[in-house]
Protein backbone atom coordinates (compact mmCIF):
# COMPACT_ATOMS: atom_id res chain seq x y z
CA UNK A 1 0.00 0.00 0.00
CA UNK A 2 1.19 3.47 -0.68
CA UNK A 3 1.33 6.11 1.96
CA UNK A 4 -1.54 8.46 2.46
CA UNK A 5 -2.49 11.47 4.42
CA UNK A 6 -6.16 10.83 4.39
CA UNK A 7 -8.91 13.29 4.85
CA UNK A 8 -9.48 12.77 8.47
CA UNK A 9 -10.84 13.90 11.76
CA UNK A 10 -9.33 13.26 15.14
CA UNK A 11 -9.30 9.54 14.70
CA UNK A 12 -7.90 9.50 11.19
CA UNK A 13 -11.32 9.09 9.72
CA UNK A 14 -13.94 11.30 8.27
CA UNK A 15 -13.75 15.07 8.30
CA UNK A 16 -16.50 16.65 10.30
CA UNK A 17 -19.68 16.76 8.31
CA UNK A 18 -18.15 15.72 5.03
CA UNK A 19 -16.64 18.36 2.80
CA UNK A 20 -17.95 20.94 0.43
CA UNK A 21 -17.05 20.30 -3.17
CA UNK A 22 -17.59 23.93 -3.98
CA UNK A 23 -14.87 25.24 -1.67
CA UNK A 24 -11.68 25.71 -3.66
CA UNK A 25 -8.83 23.52 -2.53
CA UNK A 26 -5.25 24.65 -2.66
CA UNK A 27 -3.26 21.47 -3.08
CA UNK A 28 -0.05 22.98 -1.72
CA UNK A 29 2.29 20.04 -1.38
CA UNK A 30 -0.54 17.56 -1.03
CA UNK A 31 -1.89 15.10 -3.55
CA UNK A 32 -5.58 15.83 -3.38
CA UNK A 33 -8.38 13.74 -4.82
CA UNK A 34 -11.73 15.45 -4.54
CA UNK A 35 -15.03 15.71 -6.26
CA UNK A 36 -18.70 15.13 -5.84
CA UNK A 37 -21.29 12.48 -6.32
CA UNK A 38 -24.46 13.16 -8.29
CA UNK A 39 -27.59 11.31 -9.27
CA UNK A 40 -28.77 12.98 -12.46
CA UNK A 41 -28.11 16.64 -11.72
CA UNK A 42 -28.74 16.34 -7.98
CA UNK A 43 -25.99 15.98 -5.41
CA UNK A 44 -25.98 12.78 -3.38
CA UNK A 45 -25.61 14.02 0.18
CA UNK A 46 -26.07 10.69 1.91
CA UNK A 47 -23.37 8.23 1.06
CA UNK A 48 -19.72 7.39 1.44
CA UNK A 49 -16.57 7.67 -0.63
CA UNK A 50 -13.88 5.07 -0.05
CA UNK A 51 -10.32 5.14 -1.27
CA UNK A 52 -8.88 1.71 -2.00
CA UNK A 53 -5.33 0.66 -2.80
CA UNK A 54 -4.21 -1.26 -5.84
CA UNK A 55 -5.09 -4.59 -4.28
CA UNK A 56 -8.52 -3.32 -3.28
CA UNK A 57 -7.40 -2.87 0.33
CA UNK A 58 -9.15 -0.22 2.36
CA UNK A 59 -7.29 3.05 2.82
CA UNK A 60 -9.81 5.69 3.86
CA UNK A 61 -13.49 6.53 3.92
CA UNK A 62 -15.36 9.80 4.23
CA UNK A 63 -19.08 10.61 4.36
CA UNK A 64 -20.32 12.75 1.50
CA UNK A 65 -20.95 16.42 2.22
CA UNK A 66 -24.27 18.16 1.77
CA UNK A 67 -23.35 18.91 -1.84
CA UNK A 68 -22.15 15.36 -2.47
CA UNK A 69 -18.54 16.40 -1.97
CA UNK A 70 -15.59 14.31 -0.80
CA UNK A 71 -11.88 14.93 -0.44
CA UNK A 72 -8.82 12.79 0.22
CA UNK A 73 -5.24 13.81 0.78
CA UNK A 74 -3.56 10.89 -0.91
CA UNK A 75 -0.04 9.94 -1.77
CA UNK A 76 0.98 10.02 -5.44
CA UNK A 77 -0.23 7.00 -7.34
CA UNK A 78 -3.27 5.28 -8.70
CA UNK A 79 -6.22 4.58 -6.47
CA UNK A 80 -9.69 3.17 -6.75
CA UNK A 81 -12.39 5.54 -5.61
CA UNK A 82 -15.54 3.69 -4.56
CA UNK A 83 -18.81 5.42 -3.84
CA UNK A 84 -21.58 3.82 -1.78
CA UNK A 85 -25.02 5.40 -1.71
CA UNK A 86 -28.49 4.35 -0.53
CA UNK A 87 -30.45 1.94 -2.66
CA UNK A 88 -27.44 -0.28 -3.20
CA UNK A 89 -25.83 2.28 -5.50
CA UNK A 90 -22.11 1.92 -5.95
CA UNK A 91 -19.56 3.13 -8.45
CA UNK A 92 -15.81 2.63 -8.87
CA UNK A 93 -13.42 5.05 -10.55
CA UNK A 94 -9.70 4.75 -11.07
CA UNK A 95 -8.04 7.99 -10.00
CA UNK A 96 -4.48 9.27 -10.07
CA UNK A 97 -2.97 11.59 -7.49
CA UNK A 98 0.12 13.78 -7.72
CA UNK A 99 1.78 16.07 -5.20
CA UNK A 100 0.77 19.67 -5.73
CA UNK A 101 -2.26 18.76 -7.78
CA UNK A 102 -5.99 18.56 -7.12
CA UNK A 103 -7.51 15.70 -9.08
CA UNK A 104 -11.20 16.36 -9.64
CA UNK A 105 -13.62 13.50 -10.03
CA UNK A 106 -17.36 13.63 -10.58
CA UNK A 107 -19.13 10.38 -9.94
CA UNK A 108 -22.64 9.56 -11.11
CA UNK A 109 -24.58 6.85 -9.33
Amino acid sequence: MSNLNQAAGDGCGAPAGGVSASAATNAGSQAVVEGRVVRGSDPVSTGYARLLGTGGEFVAEVPLGDDGGFRFFAAPGTWTLRVLAPGGARADRSVSAEYGKVTQVEVTV
Binding site: N5, D10, G11, C12, A14, Y48, E57
Partner: protein
Protein backbone atom coordinates in the same frame (compact mmCIF):
# COMPACT_ATOMS: atom_id res chain seq x y z
CA UNK B 1 -19.53 -13.34 25.06
CA UNK B 2 -21.23 -14.37 21.90
CA UNK B 3 -22.08 -12.25 18.91
CA UNK B 4 -25.79 -12.21 19.76
CA UNK B 5 -25.08 -10.77 23.21
CA UNK B 6 -23.02 -7.83 21.99
CA UNK B 7 -24.37 -6.98 18.55
CA UNK B 8 -27.84 -6.01 17.38
CA UNK B 9 -29.06 -5.33 13.87
CA UNK B 10 -31.22 -2.56 12.49
CA UNK B 11 -34.42 -4.60 12.75
CA UNK B 12 -33.79 -5.12 16.45
CA UNK B 13 -33.23 -1.41 16.95
CA UNK B 14 -36.39 -0.50 15.05
CA UNK B 15 -38.38 -2.94 17.16
CA UNK B 16 -36.93 -1.97 20.54
CA UNK B 17 -35.72 1.61 20.41
CA UNK B 18 -38.74 2.91 22.30
CA UNK B 19 -38.71 0.16 24.92
CA UNK B 20 -38.25 1.16 28.54
CA UNK B 21 -34.83 -0.04 29.61
CA UNK B 22 -33.29 0.38 26.16
CA UNK B 23 -31.15 3.44 25.51
CA UNK B 24 -29.81 4.14 22.05
CA UNK B 25 -26.68 6.30 22.02
CA UNK B 26 -24.91 7.85 19.02
CA UNK B 27 -21.17 8.39 19.44
CA UNK B 28 -19.45 9.99 16.49
CA UNK B 29 -16.11 11.38 15.63
CA UNK B 30 -18.06 14.05 13.78
CA UNK B 31 -20.17 15.18 16.69
CA UNK B 32 -22.34 17.34 14.42
CA UNK B 33 -23.65 14.27 12.61
CA UNK B 34 -26.23 13.78 15.35
CA UNK B 35 -27.67 17.24 14.75
CA UNK B 36 -28.28 16.51 11.08
CA UNK B 37 -30.32 13.46 11.91
CA UNK B 38 -30.06 10.45 14.19
CA UNK B 39 -31.91 7.24 14.81
CA UNK B 40 -35.23 7.99 16.54
CA UNK B 41 -34.92 8.07 20.34
CA UNK B 42 -31.11 8.13 20.24
CA UNK B 43 -29.24 10.41 22.60
CA UNK B 44 -25.70 11.65 21.99
CA UNK B 45 -22.43 11.20 23.82
CA UNK B 46 -19.50 13.30 22.67
CA UNK B 47 -16.42 11.09 22.81
CA UNK B 48 -14.15 14.01 23.55
CA UNK B 49 -16.13 16.54 25.59
CA UNK B 50 -18.06 13.98 27.57
CA UNK B 51 -15.59 11.14 27.95
CA UNK B 52 -12.20 12.86 28.25
CA UNK B 53 -10.83 14.78 31.19
CA UNK B 54 -10.69 18.43 30.11
CA UNK B 55 -7.24 19.01 31.63
CA UNK B 56 -5.21 15.81 32.04
CA UNK B 57 -4.82 13.34 29.21
CA UNK B 58 -7.10 10.72 30.67
CA UNK B 59 -10.68 9.62 30.86
CA UNK B 60 -13.26 11.29 33.03
CA UNK B 61 -13.03 9.58 36.39
CA UNK B 62 -15.64 7.34 37.93
CA UNK B 63 -17.53 10.24 39.48
CA UNK B 64 -17.49 12.09 36.18
CA UNK B 65 -18.82 9.04 34.38
CA UNK B 66 -21.58 8.66 36.94
CA UNK B 67 -22.52 12.31 36.50
CA UNK B 68 -22.57 12.00 32.71
CA UNK B 69 -24.75 8.91 32.62
CA UNK B 70 -27.06 10.27 35.31
CA UNK B 71 -27.57 13.49 33.35
CA UNK B 72 -28.26 11.55 30.14
CA UNK B 73 -30.85 9.43 31.86
CA UNK B 74 -29.05 6.10 31.70
CA UNK B 75 -29.66 3.60 34.50
CA UNK B 76 -27.40 0.79 35.65
CA UNK B 77 -29.89 -1.81 34.44
CA UNK B 78 -30.48 -0.29 31.01
CA UNK B 79 -29.51 -2.01 27.80
CA UNK B 80 -27.25 0.53 26.11
CA UNK B 81 -27.02 0.23 22.32
CA UNK B 82 -24.21 2.27 20.81
CA UNK B 83 -23.74 3.25 17.20
CA UNK B 84 -21.83 5.82 15.21
CA UNK B 85 -20.07 6.72 12.03
CA UNK B 86 -16.63 5.62 10.86
CA UNK B 87 -17.58 1.97 10.96
CA UNK B 88 -18.41 2.28 14.66
CA UNK B 89 -14.90 3.28 15.77
CA UNK B 90 -16.05 5.72 18.39
CA UNK B 91 -19.05 3.62 19.30
CA UNK B 92 -16.64 0.75 19.98
CA UNK B 93 -14.48 3.13 21.98
CA UNK B 94 -17.51 4.12 24.06
CA UNK B 95 -18.47 0.43 24.40
CA UNK B 96 -15.04 -0.29 25.86
CA UNK B 97 -15.48 2.68 28.15
CA UNK B 98 -18.86 1.48 29.42
CA UNK B 99 -17.29 -1.91 30.12
CA UNK B 100 -14.34 -0.26 31.82
CA UNK B 101 -16.74 1.34 34.28
CA UNK B 102 -18.69 -1.85 34.74
CA UNK B 103 -21.90 -1.38 32.75
CA UNK B 104 -23.30 -4.85 32.27
CA UNK B 105 -25.52 -4.71 29.20
CA UNK B 106 -23.93 -2.87 26.29
CA UNK B 107 -24.33 -3.65 22.60
CA UNK B 108 -23.24 -2.23 19.27
CA UNK B 109 -25.54 -1.70 16.31
CA UNK B 110 -23.75 -3.76 13.67
CA UNK B 111 -22.81 -1.54 10.74
CA UNK B 112 -23.45 1.61 12.73
CA UNK B 113 -24.65 4.79 11.16
CA UNK B 114 -23.32 3.94 7.72
CA UNK B 115 -25.37 0.80 7.18
CA UNK B 116 -28.44 2.52 8.62
CA UNK B 117 -28.03 5.41 6.19
CA UNK B 118 -27.27 3.21 3.21
CA UNK B 119 -30.48 1.30 3.89
CA UNK B 120 -32.38 4.61 3.96
CA UNK B 121 -33.78 3.96 7.42
CA UNK B 122 -35.49 6.68 9.41
CA UNK B 123 -33.51 9.55 10.91
CA UNK B 124 -34.88 12.38 13.02
CA UNK B 125 -33.75 15.68 14.47
CA UNK B 126 -35.98 15.25 17.51
CA UNK B 127 -33.97 15.01 20.71
CA UNK B 128 -35.49 12.66 23.29
CA UNK B 129 -35.99 13.88 26.82
CA UNK B 130 -34.81 11.33 29.35
CA UNK B 131 -35.32 11.98 33.05
CA UNK B 132 -32.12 12.04 35.08
CA UNK B 133 -31.01 8.94 36.96
CA UNK B 134 -28.58 8.18 39.77
CA UNK B 135 -26.01 6.08 37.95
CA UNK B 136 -23.39 4.23 39.97
CA UNK B 137 -20.22 3.19 38.17
CA UNK B 138 -17.62 0.66 39.27
CA UNK B 139 -13.95 1.46 39.56
CA UNK B 140 -12.14 1.05 36.24
CA UNK B 141 -11.64 -2.58 35.26
CA UNK B 142 -7.86 -2.76 35.01
CA UNK B 143 -8.06 -6.00 33.04
CA UNK B 144 -9.30 -4.11 30.00
CA UNK B 145 -6.87 -1.19 29.87
CA UNK B 146 -3.13 -1.32 29.22
CA UNK B 147 -0.79 1.46 30.31
CA UNK B 148 2.65 2.24 29.01
CA UNK B 149 4.76 0.30 31.49
CA UNK B 150 2.71 -2.80 30.85
CA UNK B 151 3.12 -2.33 27.11
CA UNK B 152 6.90 -2.09 27.42
CA UNK B 153 6.90 -5.19 29.58
CA UNK B 154 4.83 -7.00 26.93
CA UNK B 155 7.36 -6.59 24.11
CA UNK B 156 8.33 -10.02 22.86
CA UNK B 157 6.10 -11.71 25.41
CA UNK B 158 2.50 -10.95 24.55
CA UNK B 159 0.66 -10.31 21.31
CA UNK B 160 0.92 -6.65 20.39
CA UNK B 161 -1.57 -5.71 17.68
CA UNK B 162 -1.03 -2.43 15.90
CA UNK B 163 -4.30 -1.68 14.13
CA UNK B 164 -3.18 1.46 12.28
CA UNK B 165 -2.69 1.61 8.53
CA UNK B 166 0.44 -0.05 7.14
CA UNK B 167 2.01 3.35 6.50
CA UNK B 168 1.64 4.44 10.10
CA UNK B 169 2.97 1.05 11.20
CA UNK B 170 6.11 1.23 9.08
CA UNK B 171 6.80 4.82 10.12
CA UNK B 172 6.12 6.51 6.79
CA UNK B 173 3.22 8.41 8.34
CA UNK B 174 3.02 9.87 11.84
CA UNK B 175 -0.57 11.04 11.73
CA UNK B 176 -2.97 12.76 9.41
CA UNK B 177 -1.28 15.93 8.28
CA UNK B 178 -3.87 18.31 9.67
CA UNK B 179 -3.54 17.03 13.23
CA UNK B 180 -0.04 18.07 14.25
CA UNK B 181 -1.16 18.54 17.84
CA UNK B 182 -1.74 14.85 18.21
CA UNK B 183 1.36 13.72 16.41
CA UNK B 184 3.96 11.56 18.10
CA UNK B 185 7.59 12.60 18.10
CA UNK B 186 8.70 9.49 16.25
CA UNK B 187 7.16 7.16 13.68
CA UNK B 188 7.19 3.39 13.64
CA UNK B 189 5.75 0.67 15.82
CA UNK B 190 6.33 -1.15 19.07
CA UNK B 191 8.85 -3.94 18.51
CA UNK B 192 7.29 -7.38 17.95
CA UNK B 193 3.89 -5.85 17.12
CA UNK B 194 1.89 -7.31 14.28
CA UNK B 195 0.05 -4.96 11.93
CA UNK B 196 -3.60 -5.88 11.49
CA UNK B 197 -5.39 -2.74 10.29
CA UNK B 198 -8.78 -2.38 11.97
CA UNK B 199 -10.44 -2.30 8.56
CA UNK B 200 -9.72 -5.98 7.98
CA UNK B 201 -12.34 -6.78 10.60
CA UNK B 202 -15.12 -4.86 8.86
CA UNK B 203 -17.19 -5.48 5.79
CA UNK B 204 -17.82 -2.68 3.32
CA UNK B 205 -21.12 -1.81 5.00
CA UNK B 206 -19.41 -1.45 8.37
CA UNK B 207 -20.64 -4.74 9.83
CA UNK B 208 -18.17 -7.08 11.46
CA UNK B 209 -16.89 -10.02 9.49
CA UNK B 210 -17.97 -13.50 10.56
CA UNK B 211 -16.27 -15.19 13.49
CA UNK B 212 -14.57 -17.66 11.17
CA UNK B 213 -13.24 -14.89 8.97
CA UNK B 214 -12.03 -12.98 12.00
CA UNK B 215 -10.24 -16.00 13.43
CA UNK B 216 -8.53 -16.42 10.07
CA UNK B 217 -7.47 -12.79 9.89
CA UNK B 218 -5.95 -12.60 13.36
CA UNK B 219 -4.82 -16.20 13.67
CA UNK B 220 -3.74 -17.76 10.39
CA UNK B 221 -2.98 -14.53 8.54
CA UNK B 222 -1.45 -12.33 11.23
CA UNK B 223 -0.06 -15.17 13.28
CA UNK B 224 -1.38 -14.11 16.67
CA UNK B 225 -0.89 -16.75 19.31
CA UNK B 226 -4.31 -16.93 20.94
CA UNK B 227 -2.83 -18.70 23.95
CA UNK B 228 -1.07 -15.45 24.88
CA UNK B 229 -2.45 -12.24 26.30
CA UNK B 230 -2.97 -9.42 23.82
CA UNK B 231 -2.66 -5.65 23.78
CA UNK B 232 -4.16 -3.64 20.91
CA UNK B 233 -3.14 -0.09 20.08
CA UNK B 234 -3.51 2.52 17.35
CA UNK B 235 -2.91 6.26 17.50
CA UNK B 236 -5.30 7.48 20.20
CA UNK B 237 -7.06 4.26 21.15
CA UNK B 238 -10.33 4.37 19.26
CA UNK B 239 -9.48 2.18 16.28
CA UNK B 240 -7.92 -0.29 18.71
CA UNK B 241 -11.15 -0.28 20.72
CA UNK B 242 -12.77 -1.63 17.53
CA UNK B 243 -10.18 -4.43 17.44
CA UNK B 244 -10.49 -4.98 21.20
CA UNK B 245 -14.22 -5.49 20.61
CA UNK B 246 -13.49 -8.06 17.91
CA UNK B 247 -10.97 -10.05 19.94
CA UNK B 248 -12.53 -9.81 23.39
CA UNK B 249 -16.25 -9.56 22.73
CA UNK B 250 -16.78 -11.38 19.42
CA UNK B 251 -14.04 -14.00 19.53
CA UNK B 252 -14.18 -14.33 23.29
CA UNK B 253 -10.44 -14.04 23.83
CA UNK B 254 -9.67 -13.47 27.50
CA UNK B 255 -6.98 -11.00 28.53
CA UNK B 256 -7.21 -8.54 25.70
CA UNK B 257 -6.43 -4.96 26.64
CA UNK B 258 -6.71 -1.70 24.80
CA UNK B 259 -3.73 0.65 25.12
CA UNK B 260 -5.47 3.99 24.81
CA UNK B 261 -2.24 5.95 25.17
CA UNK B 262 -1.36 4.30 21.86
CA UNK B 263 1.14 5.74 19.43
CA UNK B 264 0.67 9.38 20.45
CA UNK B 265 2.06 8.37 23.84
CA UNK B 266 4.48 5.58 22.94
CA UNK B 267 6.01 7.43 19.99
CA UNK B 268 6.82 10.36 22.26
CA UNK B 269 8.37 8.45 25.16
CA UNK B 270 12.08 8.97 25.71
CA UNK B 271 14.27 5.91 25.46
CA UNK B 272 11.75 3.25 24.44
CA UNK B 273 12.52 0.83 21.62
CA UNK B 274 10.91 1.47 18.23
CA UNK B 275 10.94 -0.60 15.08
CA UNK B 276 10.66 0.82 11.59
CA UNK B 277 9.48 -0.88 8.43
CA UNK B 278 7.60 -4.12 8.04
CA UNK B 279 6.94 -6.46 10.96
CA UNK B 280 9.92 -8.67 11.78
Amino acid sequence: MSRSEVLVDAEWVEAHTGDPGVVLVEVDEDTSAYDKGHIPNAIRIDWKQDLQDPVRRDFVDRVGFEKLLSERGISNDDTVVLYGGNNNWFAAYAYWYFKLYGHHDVKLLDGGRKKWELESRALTKDVPNRPATSYKASEQDATLRAKRDEVLEAIGKRNLVDVRSPDEFTGRLLAPAHLPQEQAQRGGHIPTARNVPWSKAANEDGTFRSDDELRGIYGDEAGLDFSKDTIAYCRIGERSAHTWFVLHELLGQPNVKNYDGSWTEYGSLVGVPIELGEAR
